[in-house]
Amino acid sequence: MAYRWDETKALELVRASVSRELPTNTPIPGDEEDLVKAGLIDSMGWVAILSALEDTARLTNFAAVWPEDRPQSIRALVETLRGAGRRDAEETEEHGESPSPESADAAVAFTGWGFALGSLRVSAEEVDRECGLATHTLRDAAGIESVCRAAGTEDELTLAGSAAEAALNMAGVAPDAVDFVVATSATFLAFPSLSASLHSRLLLPESCGAIDVGGACVGLVHALAIAKGLLHGSQRGVSLVVASEVHSRRLCSSSVPGAFRGLFGDGACAFVLTRRESGSANSFMALGDFVWGCSGSLALSLRLSLADTGGFDVKFRGEQLAAAAVSAIDRILSRLENLSGRTRSEVACFALHEPNPRIIGILAERAGISLSRIPFISRTCGNLGSATCGVSLCTALTRVLTNPGSERPLIFVAAVGPGLLWGGTYLQPASSTVRQESRRENTEGDSADGAAGRS
């Protein structure tokens, strides 16, 4: 947020910045004195002063031009600072792209997205062999044709970095504009955490927060909810949400059942979420509210713990897990219908966590969903954990963007994970989202669906 500097405050700030760069015990020079010509500071010191003023005043591109005849003095810095503050404030007012946190009409828009898959493609038959399964087990029983695997040079960080770069590039957002990054990964088990590592890799500014959230396969839905909540109080109104998983290294132990580890692939997805005025001229897909749940009684269907070797110990009951996943996702879809006020028949695309294609096929039949509206990421990539519904959401957003068939395209996002956790949300054009939220506020308490919550 830009600030209009008055003379006194600007002078105070500039003098403080200059004094830090002066040699020890050097008195503050006169306001008109040229700091460089007088030999008080050198080029390093001058840049440090400009950087410090930019950081403290929260200006972008401060002092991008310094005319030849303008002295490098305290007075000139004060005038430049005041001018830059005025210009930034006017630009913010003109564009209205980042409404104040208190703005009632602020929506959270998807302005960029991208994904990165492990660059090795392994056929289902090869995976069968590796996992000691009978030939065609993976293809016939799970519907998986191939899985994506990280190459030796790839890991959670490189995949997340590639996905994030693509999303930032699409959104036209520079690293300095990001308020916080929210990351999720079940397989990145190190400190600095994934969000902090990604913060370094992407060269995000020090003022940008780095937050990690859990949830395994539901992690992306958790991350989106956290980002949405934080955006309302953020300075620049821009967040980056990332999910990244490299299962091939965590599940490679022979103690992990082959029928389980064979399902998984490696990949990452990223989204740039931006706080926007709902009435702004450009249409955009906005993030709706969330539904959550947890069925402890089904927790035993999948349990993972860290083994001494650094890999996972896995206990899973395949059939029970599959049935539970189908029920949970179907329940999420029903709740999203209530929450959005629109039926599943209106949904353009379903971005779902896909334990495997076969389970999603069963779900589609039971839930009355056309298969063509599900991206089926797991068929060729395998189960990507938290990134599955994210890669699916990237595909869904691109479909909506490139095939504007509907005036009010709708996307449902749903995921289930160990616990048994579930979570979901929806996306639709901003005006629809805000209208729907207003309607629900008016009828709050009338709904019989107590589990439907808001972020």
Binding site: E21, S43, L157, L203
Partner: protein, 234 residues
């Protein structure tokens, strides 16, 4: 950095083994115009006596540089540089921990006595440029992600070829009043070219200690080197 050419090269110590050497002119630290050599040229010289002080242990006094007529391509040069002094992390660059500025800036420095050398290579993961305006000139700084995903903030870029490339870019964009446009291009189209290269490598150097007795880290060489064809893309 003063005017002139600070030359640093590689001496072959055997199969796939190199070390950095800095041939010094008879007077001062930098070679003056006319300087007929360019990056990648193979030269020979005879060492002369002279005083060497830490951390510039690569210094070798000499009377002149003689061309051998050979020149390395950029891929060959980077390959050789990766077989010379290379650090896996920031602490390994100069054998000591860089310190943050106590004055509020983001550049980092080392104490001359604590550093074991004055030049070292490192793998580059990411870079973001910043151009600062000066009267009739500009300063180029870079924020880097290197080694084990560590950051170096606000490192002065003194790579001659990159600075000349940027000067041409600024000129094309209409001169110094358009530094912000040049910076945008540098951080988007050109940075994408740079990061898409498989030969991302930096050489970080230390200047002679300043009046404050500190050696501030600087970006001596950035690979890949900029190509004239990148300007045509703009």
């Amino acid at each position: 950095m003063g005017q002139g050419y600070c030359v640093i090269g590689l001496e072959c110590l055997g199969l796939d083994r190199f070390r950095s050497v800095r041939p010094m002119p008879p007077f001062g630290y930098a070679w003056r115009d006319p300087f007929p050599h360019k990056r990648g040229d193979c030269i020979r010289f005879t060492s002369a006596r002279g005083t060497i002080s830490a951390p510039h242990v690569e210094d070798q006094h000499c009377l002149g540089l003689e061309s051998t007529g050979r020149s390395l391509k950029e891929t060959e040069l980077v390959d050789a540089l990766t077989k010379a002094e290379v650090a896996l992390d920031v602490d390994g660059l100069f054998g000591c921990e860089p310190r943050a500025s106590t004055r509020g800036g983001k550049a980092v420095w080392v104490m001359p006595a604590g550093a074991c050398r004055s030049i070292c290579g490192c793998v580059l993961h990411n870079i973001w440029f910043r151009i600062f305006a000066e009267p009739n000139n500009f300063s180029l700084r870079a924020r880097l992600s290197v080694g084990r995903n560590e950051r170096l903030e606000s490192v002065p870029v003194v790579d001659r070829d990159w600075r000349q490339f940027l000067a041409r870019l600024i000129e094309r964009k209409g001169g110094l009043p358009h530094l912000d446009e040049a910076e945008h291009l540098l951080n988007h189209a050109i940075r994408r070219k740079l990061l898409s290269s498989s030969q991302r490598f930096v050489r970080i150097g230390l200047p002679r200690p300043g009046g404050d007795g500190q050696c501030w880290l600087m970006l001596d060489s950035l690979f890949p080197q900029p190509s004239e064809s990148w300007l045509e893309l703009l």
